[in-house]
């Protein structure tokens, strides 16, 4: 311990001053070095050239990698968004077709300009053949959706048996009067609700030898009412074909 005290004992000689100078320089240098290491710029500023080159190399290769990743992700995003557009368009097209086909097949209600044709038969002389003729006339005149119901009594609003008329609709004379339409027995007076061009259909009903004429020959009576807005509300279930299969695959677009 006495020797350590000897180291600390002040005794001023020139060599002692030199020692003190050197230690002061050491402390100064150490403090400066610690200071310059502590801030980030100091680290880069005090780095060797080859270290800097290595750092720069790493940075540029990393940025190239990130750039590549960006382009990959951009391509994926573009692919996904155009795919979504195509899917949306295909879905809209499919919906549109479903609407059109649904009106044809009678699975969706329809509404539009048309006529209401009331056909009274007090003598019971109007048969299935005449109703079929009337339907053919309506179709010739451009009827797009048709329903038939009966008996329709003026001033009575109760539910009336009604049938949506489609391609496969059949008219059969009932055993005890009335007409069976697709298995539903309807009685006079019948009412056709037709969507189509009102003027054309009304004219078609009125031609000589047409529906109105024929019904009057059988002591019946017809009333044709044009309307800018009639509703065909009767529906029929969609029967899946048991045997027929489409031969063309549905388009993939």
């Amino acid at each position: 311990m006495s020797r350590l005290k000897g180291l600390l004992r002040p005794k001023l000689r020139r060599v002692d001053l030199a020692v003190a100078m050197l230690l002061a320089v050491l402390g100064f240098a150490a403090a400066v070095q610690v200071r310059s290491t502590q801030d980030d710029e100091g680290v880069l500023a005090s780095a060797r050239q080859e270290d800097l080159v290595a750092i720069l190399d790493g940075l540029s290769s990393r940025s190239a990698r990130l750039r590549q990743e960006i382009s990959t992700l951009t391509a994926t995003r573009d692919r996904l968004s155009t795919g979504t557009d195509r899917d949306t368009a295909a879905l809209a097209e499919a919906r549109r077709r479903a609407q059109v086909l649904g009106i044809l097949a009678g699975t969706v209600p329809a509404r539009g300009p048309g006529v209401v044709l009331t056909l009274d038969d007090p003598e019971g002389k109007v048969g299935a053949d005449l109703l079929l003729d009337a339907l053919e006339e309506l179709r010739d005149a451009g009827a797009e959706a048709v329903q038939v119901e009966g008996p329709v009594v003026e001033g009575e609003d109760g539910p009336v048996p009604s049938v949506r008329v489609v391609a496969a609709t059949a008219f059969v004379d009932g055993d005890a009067g009335g007409i069976e339409v697709d298995g539903t027995l309807l009685r006079a007076p019948y009412r056709f609700t037709v969507i189509g061009d009102p003027a054309t259909i009304a004219a078609a009903m009125a031609i000589p030898g047409g529906v109105t004429d024929t019904v009057e020959q059988r002591d019946g009576r017809t009333v044709v009412t044009r309307s800018e807005n009639v509703a065909v509300t009767a529906l029929r279930p969609l029967d899946r074909p048991r045997y027929a299969r489409p031969t063309v695959e549905p388009e993939a677009d």
């Binding site: 020692v19 100064f28 240098a29 060797r48």
Partner: protein, 110 residues
């Protein structure tokens, strides 16, 4: 006592003035500091052994710093500066450890 005060003064001055290290000296400053630390530990040990000599300390301090800087400078010229400075730091670190062990034995007899 005077050397310890001088050391503290140097640290305070370094923290206070915050000088920027010249670019040319930047690779050598840390090595020089470690070399000087080695000389200081050696001096403390010599003092404890009773063989401390001022002149020897001054010469060893200066030559340590110069040789360390020279070795690193040569390494930089040869393209192995990084590795050589690592080597210098390792060697000086070993010497500092062995000096510290001798000092410890003197102080604590263990």
């Amino acid at each position: 006592m005077i050397p310890a005060v001088a050391l503290v003064l140097g640290v305070v001055a370094g923290l206070f003035f915050e000088p920027t290290v010249p670019g040319a000296l930047q690779p050598y400053l840390p090595i020089a500091v470690v070399a000087a630390l080695d000389a200081v530990f050696g001096a403390v040990r010599a003092q404890l052994d009773g063989i401390f000599d001022d002149r020897v300390f001054v010469v060893s301090f200066v030559s340590n710093v110069l040789v360390a800087a020279l070795v690193v400078f040569l390494g930089d010229q040869l393209g192995v500066g990084g590795q050589l400075s690592t080597g210098v730091v390792v060697v000086l670190g070993i010497r500092i450890f062995s000096n510290a062990a001798a000092i410890r034995r003197h102080l604590f007899r263990a």
